[in-house]
């Protein structure tokens, strides 16, 4: 084989690799797409960073678009902002979704599950602490948050939490105007000595209007603010 022919073959091969396969099988292109995206993106980064004025505009647009309850979410570690709509309710649990199919589930305003963020909370048992927070009472309670590990086995993080009552103030957010809220804090210590602290603004009817809650080691804190 001459050198030229060899080069031509290599070029053909490169062209084939660039085509990266085609066909009609489901998920055919997924592999190549995912790998290419993986090169250019951070894992799990789907919500986007927004400037305050962009956020305000997006909130107004969303309020106009739908009648569903809405919330604003910021995943602090990723500087990611998203508007969530309450897309489904199952008993005490409300599932909030973004337009790109990431969801957060809350019970009485406390985050119990996430989906699509990576390192998701699969489920939580928070009834003890939720009763104290929404009742605006100080006290102690236990919470359990469940995750999947690298082998898809369920792992639990159990923590003992101290709920304390702070001051009161008036807040406005979206269509919620000038509501008197109580500041509640929840300080949780996990086995192994690590801890996290959540905070909530709770109105007179026990609704959590805004909060900052810990999602886990990997995702850090999420700030949630009810808009409607």
């Amino acid at each position: 084989m001459t050198v030229l022919r060899k080069i031509a073959r290599l070029a053909a091969l490169a062209a084939v690799a660039a085509l990266a396969g085609c066909g009609n099988e489901t998920d055919q292109g997924l592999v190549y797409k995912s790998v290419l995206q993986g090169l250019s993106q951070n894992s799990g980064q789907t919500m986007s960073a927004m400037a305050p004025e962009q956020t305000a505009a997006a909130v107004q647009a969303s309020l106009a678009q739908t009648d569903l309850p809405l919330a604003l979410a910021v995943v602090e570690k990723r500087q990611a902002t998203a508007i969530l709509a309450n897309i489904e309710t199952n008993g005490a649990y409300r599932t909030w979704g973004t337009s790109d199919r990431r969801t957060v589930t809350t019970a009485q305003g406390l985050v119990t599950a996430t989906r699509g963020l990576g390192n998701d909370i699969m489920s939580s048992s928070v009834s003890q602490v939720a009763a104290l927070v929404t009742g605006r009472k100080a006290g102690t309670g236990r919470r359990v948050m469940r995750y999947l590990d690298g082998e898809n086995h369920t792992v639990e993080i159990a923590s003992d939490c101290r709920i304390a009552r702070g001051g009161q103030k008036r807040v406005s957010s979206g269509t919620i105007q000038n509501v008197l809220v109580t500041e509640m804090s929840e300080i949780c210590s996990m086995s192994g000595g690590k801890s996290f602290s959540n905070s909530y603004l709770v109105d007179g009817r026990g609704r959590v209007l805004a909060s900052r809650q810990w999602l886990g080691e990997a995702n850090g804190y999420i700030a949630l603010q009810l808009l409607r």
Binding site: G23, E25, D27, N90, R102, N152
Partner: protein
Amino acid sequence: MRVRYSAAMIGTLALVPVTATPESLVTSSKNMYGTPGGLIDMPTAEMAPDGELATTVSHSGNTTKTTLTFQVMPRLTGSFRYSALSDYRPDRGLPTAYPNATYYDRSFDLRYQLIEEGQYRPGVAVGLRDLIGTGLYSGEYVVATKTIGSRLRVTGGVGWGRLGSYNSFTTMGTRPSDTIGSGGIPTYDRWFRGPVAAFGGVSFQANDRLSFKAEYSSDAYVEETGGGQDPGANLLTRKSPWNFGFDYQVNRAVSVGAYYMHGSTFGVKVSLATDLKGAPVPGGQETAPLPVAVRPKFSARDLGWTVEPGKTDAVQKDVAGAMAKEGMVLEGMKLEGNRVRVVLRNPRYDIEAQGFGRAARVLTRNLPDSVEEFTIVQTYKGMPTGAVTMTRSDVEALENAPAGNMLSRVAFSGGAGAWDGINPVPGTYPRLSWSLGPFAKLSVFDPDNPVKADAGLMLKGDYHIAPGWVASGAVSVKLVGNLDAAPSGRTGAGPGTLPPVRSDSRLYAMGNDPKIEYLTLAHYGRLGEDWYSRVTAGYLEPMYGGVSGEVLWKPTSSRLAIGAEVNVVRPRDYDMLFGLRSPVTPMGRIPEVNGHVSAYYDFGNGFHGQLDMGRYLAGDWGATVALDREFGNGWRVGAYVTKTNVSSAAFGEGSFDKGIRITLPLSWSIGTPSKKKNDVVIQSLTRNGGARVSVNGRLYEAVRSTHQTDVAKTWGRFWR
């Protein structure tokens, strides 16, 4: 060895950080031999974290060693090493002299930590280096390591073989130097025999990243300095038994090391470690599932829809559409007043529990309220493989509960009657699927050549005629490659005396004309609730055509499965077109009939075993034993051996077939579900004994992933 990669996969190994676990004498360091240990050429009693797979490349004294090490269990390490020695020529000056500039050697090590480290007691390990075959690096040791404070580890031990070759203090019997059989057999006659010498060293962890080490080596490096098989060898000058150096942990995966060795030369090393128990994104980063839609109270009594004309068809259309959005295909549906049976194809979710869970949620959103019982059946080529039955009320009630609650409420079954009373959903059968893409066939770590490969273009198609019936074909065109290269002229024990059923594989790799990789008609079916069958006819694989039949018994909850396969084959023409060639060869006739009885067993602790007994391609009778460690994320690392009733001489170089195999799941690398995976096999030389026909779609792997035994392991994904 043979490797099949999708081109995009290369280079995704070792992306994940390694997490330390509190086990006895754990280290992230690898030595020059690529095995876990804090010293340089000498072993220690340290172990890597359980489940770690590491690749180490080291260079010193004109020798490059590439080592793949797996921490099989917390106290057991297995290592495969491929060494390249420049200008090392056994029998130099004789007519039998090694002909090539670089000598390639393959070696295999095992280490076991006999005694865990205590507060005052050191940890003790026993190890065998290069325990199979020619034994260039053969040496055994018993070694103790003790941690003093939090930074210092002190090691002392005694060695035999290479590790007893310098300054020995006693001799235990005589150590033979002949290779057993035709190589490739454990050199048990040498172990712990011959001169015994002491070695030792210290490692000091200066900070999280940097560690220093010093050792006293009991290796005289006889082979490298002209005292061994190559009288002219001059790979290094040994002036001192003392070696010094440091390791630097660049990040959790990568570490590098540099050493001053033998009082005369430098050594360097780089190591890449992957924690197979971890994942880059635990739980995956794919989009959220649809939430469960809860029915209003008392609505379940309304059966009015059952008399609505066209309602069932409309529901089926909705379900099919919603399943498609989740990446699954509705192939069949039987909707009755209070229950539904859906037959699904799941091309996306490698963790089947997730497929079942997403399907269940789709059903809550699309079925009339009166439908209370869901049976979800998964299929392979239209053959039902396994089913899960649950109540809709449980799906509604347990969406936010721990996943184990749901697992205790569902019923698994084989789903044999899945197609009873239903027709395939329009568009699913008949159906053509096809793909065109690059392919690469690799052959690595051969004694002749570290890497051989062919790359080109492959067109594949499957025509699904009806559930269970599929016609498949693939045509490849090689663009570049050297798999057809002639052997290097190295004198080994040769290909043996069996009919050439595999050793002539390079003749099939010649030329750049289109080749038919396979062209078959297959039928997959069920012979009962626990029984599966397959018949495949046509050009089964590149080298053989014929008929292959298989039955499998595998109850959904059984850890044990039993299978049987019979093949009637003829060798194909070397051009890989439609012709068959004569089975008569100068070495005898290639028999037409071969087959096996197989037992598969899931030990339940992450280990999986397989035993195949029967007649192999060349007509030899024997058995294959395989043991794999399987991780919940799809990674598998295992080894197998095949011994048949042929002598070492008849088998040829390697004496019998054996290998290491690794499965890398694509979903693990990309963090989103995918059924694509890469199987890598590092095999002893391709010889003719213990060879089997390579048929697509063998039943056990097609079936097991949807069975209770497998699904329950990763059930947490049901709600993901």
